[in-house]
């Protein structure tokens, strides 16, 4: 749908230029080329408006993010934890251990993004429907009115004349003829069942012949079909003023070329008589006019153009070159613009996604908006929270060397694994315990692929977590373990044995060795205290960029765990 909207807009804009150009040079061209060719050359543009088949322009980076009023509920994440609460939950029950992550800053700033094209598509479709509805109602009402005032033609002479002209033009099938007091001008309508309506006036036979011939030429050329196509094109491009100008010019060309067809190979005398027939109608009209008329600019001038054209005996060329020019312009514009866009893409150096990709590190001393490429904070355990944002990202791969990474997709729209808590943690209602499968959540390498319409990259929550350090904590009979939480001196409930406390702290509890407690250690082995996270981002054009996060875990003078991290391009 996004591609379609871009294509439609591009097509509309590009063809507007062709329409304006063609409309501007039409007076010049009509001196040289036959109106028939000018008329049918417009059909190429009409077809181009209806079938936007040309290679589309890809316009990357037009993303409008609209903050929505509705905020998604986040059942996954618990509220920020205080160290004291951590102790309480650790001591009272083991199964509550998992959701106790330190606060999730993104939850508060949740937005739903509505893509620009979704809004545009909704407005466009509504416009098309309303336009067509109004047109249908009008057509129906007009037909009803005409039908009401129509009477069968009973004059045998007129009917014979009609048959005569019909045979002359070689029109097969039935064409009905009516007298209609409602219309001020002879007209032809009906797509499947063509009807000719004459104003209820006694028109001299000589003049009537011309008039019938004019209407039957419309009939033979299937001008009503042409007008249907024009209507569809206008409905699809209702927002484009150039299309209405086009409709006006086409209507004019339609009548001009119809006159020309009636008068093909005619001598000046016949032309004069044809002219007289139209004048005769106008004169009668003046006498019998019943309707109040509104003055529309162009009516009079259009008529003058008509008469001039009728009386113009100069030989006109077939406008094959005009038709070709329109074909080339209509089809070519799309190809040219596609070439331009391809050219632009080629000019972009590989890795241009670089500019768009931002890696931010959560720092508990800052508010989320101020998260930066550097973080240094005291935490209850060795861990790092970070975010990767950008535009038109197709894939993100995160790997680390020593420890583990995982992701939680707060948008809950992408790969299920990255948000579905049930996937890596099951809850047994009978026993009231959770079973946690760390191997399902933690990995040394994760890979996220995104849907084309996705834009909420910044809402995905990435974690580096020091699982190996917990193993280290339990080594040598928990000898490296010094305590819990941000302040390692917080005391555990008194009824716990020392061993229980140690095991609990290191994750040795009812959930099995997999669970992670909040720990502080007396020191960190060289190999585990440092890690390097590699983030490889690939955009939709196949460009990729790699960023690194260096993480270091250390203790401060109060034996608190300090996490230091910075982003490296």
């Amino acid at each position: 749908m996004k591609d379609f909207m871009i294509m439609l807009a591009t097509n509309s804009a590009a063809l507007s230029a062709v329409i304006l150009l063609y409309a501007a040079v039409t007076p010049l061209l009509s001196k040289r080329y036959s109106s028939k060719w000018l008329y049918y050359s417009w059909l190429i543009i009409v077809a181009g408006l209806i079938v936007p088949f040309r290679p589309q322009l890809d316009v990357p980076g037009i993303n409008v993010t609209v903050p929505a009023e509705a905020v998604l509920t986040r059942p996954l994440m618990a509220a920020p934890e205080k160290a004291a609460d951590t102790v309480a939950s650790v001591s009272s029950a083991v199964q509550l251990n998992y959701p106790v992550e330190s606060g999730n800053p993104v939850a508060q700033s949740a937005v739903i993004s509505i893509q620009w094209w979704q809004a545009a598509a909704a407005i466009w479709a509504t416009g098309v429907i309303v336009f067509l509805l109004i047109r249908c109602i009008r057509h129906y009402r007009l037909m009803k009115m005409l039908g009401r005032w129509s009477e069968d033609v009973k004059d045998d002479e007129v009917l014979a004349l009609m048959d005569d002209v019909k045979n002359e033009l070689g029109i097969p099938g039935q064409v009905s003829l009516y007298l209609c007091r409602y219309t001020g001008s002879p007209m032809m309508t009906g797509i499947l069942k063509p009807r000719i309506l004459l104003p209820a006036t006694d028109i001299p036979k000589e003049e009537l012949r011309f008039i019938l011939k004019h209407e039957l030429v419309h009939c033979r050329r299937k001008d009503t079909w042409y007008k249907c196509l024009l209507l569809i094109a206008t409905a699809m491009h209702w927002f484009n003023p150039a299309v209405y100008l086009m409709a006006k010019v086409i209507n004019e060309q339609c009548e001009l070329s119809c006159d020309a067809e009636v008068l093909r190979d005619s001598d000046p005398d016949t032309r004069d008589r044809y002219c007289k027939a139209i004048v005769g109608l106008l004169e009668t009209r003046l006498k019998t006019r019943t309707a109040l008329s509104t003055n529309f600019y162009g009516g009079k001038n259009g008529m003058k153009k008509r008469i001039s054209s009728i009386l113009d005996t100069r030989k006109k060329k077939a406008g094959l070159s005009v038709a070709c020019a329109m074909l080339i312009l209509t089809a070519g514009i799309g190809i040219a613009s596609a070439a331009i866009s391809a050219d632009n893409a080629a000019k972009d150096p590989p890795g241009n996604v670089n500019a768009d990709v931002v890696v931010r590190l959560a720092d508990h001393n800052k508010i989320p908006e101020n998260y930066d490429t550097y973080a240094c904070y005291v935490d209850a355990r060795p861990q790092l929270e970070f975010y990767i944002d950008g535009k038109d990202i197709a894939q993100i791969e995160v790997t680390c060397r020593n420890e583990y990474v995982y992701a939680v997709d707060l948008t809950q729209t992408q790969h299920e694994k990255y948000w579905n808590v049930e996937y890596y943690q099951t809850y047994d209602e009978e026993t009231g315990t959770c079973t946690f499968y760390p191997e399902r959540r933690y990995d040394k390498a994760i890979k996220l692929s995104f849907d084309k319409e996705f834009s909420g990259y910044g809402e995905i929550w990435y974690r580096w977590t020091a699982w190996n350090l917990y193993k280290w904590a339990s080594e040598d009979n928990f000898s490296h373990f010094v305590g819990f939480g941000i302040d390692p001196k917080i005391e555990l409930p008194e009824d716990m044995t020392e061993e229980q406390k140690l095991k609990l702290a290191a994750g040795e509890n009812g959930s099995g060795p997999a669970n992670i407690g909040h720990i502080c250690l007396d020191g960190y082995p060289e190999g585990l205290a440092r890690d390097r996270i590699e983030i490889k981002v690939t955009d939709r054009e196949g460009n990729s960029v790699t960023k690194y996060i260096n993480v270091e875990i250390s203790n401060n003078e109060f034996m608190q765990t300090v996490v230091t991290a910075y982003v490296e391009d």
């Binding site: 057509h139 009401r148 409602y182 009503t224 024009l230 002219c275």
Partner: protein, 125 residues
């Protein structure tokens, strides 16, 4: 006369017969020219005509055993009303109508036509 309203189709059909005939018109004439074609009962035609009397389109007189009807609104008057009404509502943007008119009648004022005729005379002269 009362304010004119658009006639429903059936009543309009009756009025068309009335206009086609020399007044006065009887239900018999209408029945003969229309009722058979439409397969209407005599009572239907009578009630339609009485409704037209109510609307002020017909006037009725009793002449012996027969009831005579006279048109109160001429066809031209009514046509003027319908077309005027329609144009007021629908004229805008007639460009996209699915009809081919020989000329755009509504786009020409009487003044325009006079000027055009003059112009053509000069051109051809």
């Amino acid at each position: 006369m009362r304010e004119m309203k658009r006639l429903p189709d059936a009543e309009f059909e009756v009025m068309k017969i009335v206009w086609q005939n020399e007044p006065p018109v009887t239900t018999g004439i209408v029945m003969e020219q229309l009722g058979k074609k439409k397969e209407w009962k005599a009572q239907t035609v009578v009630s339609l005509m009485l409704r037209l009397v109510e609307r002020g389109f017909l006037r009725t007189e009793k002449a012996g055993r027969e009831r005579l009807y006279f048109p109160e609104v001429s066809r031209e008057e009514y046509l003027k009303f319908e077309t005027g009404n329609f144009i007021k509502q629908y004229h805008n943007n007639s460009l996209l109508n699915l009809v081919n008119t020989l000329y755009d009648d509504d786009a020409l004022t009487d003044g325009d036509i006079n000027e055009l005729l003059q112009w053509i005379k000069e051109r051809r002269g």
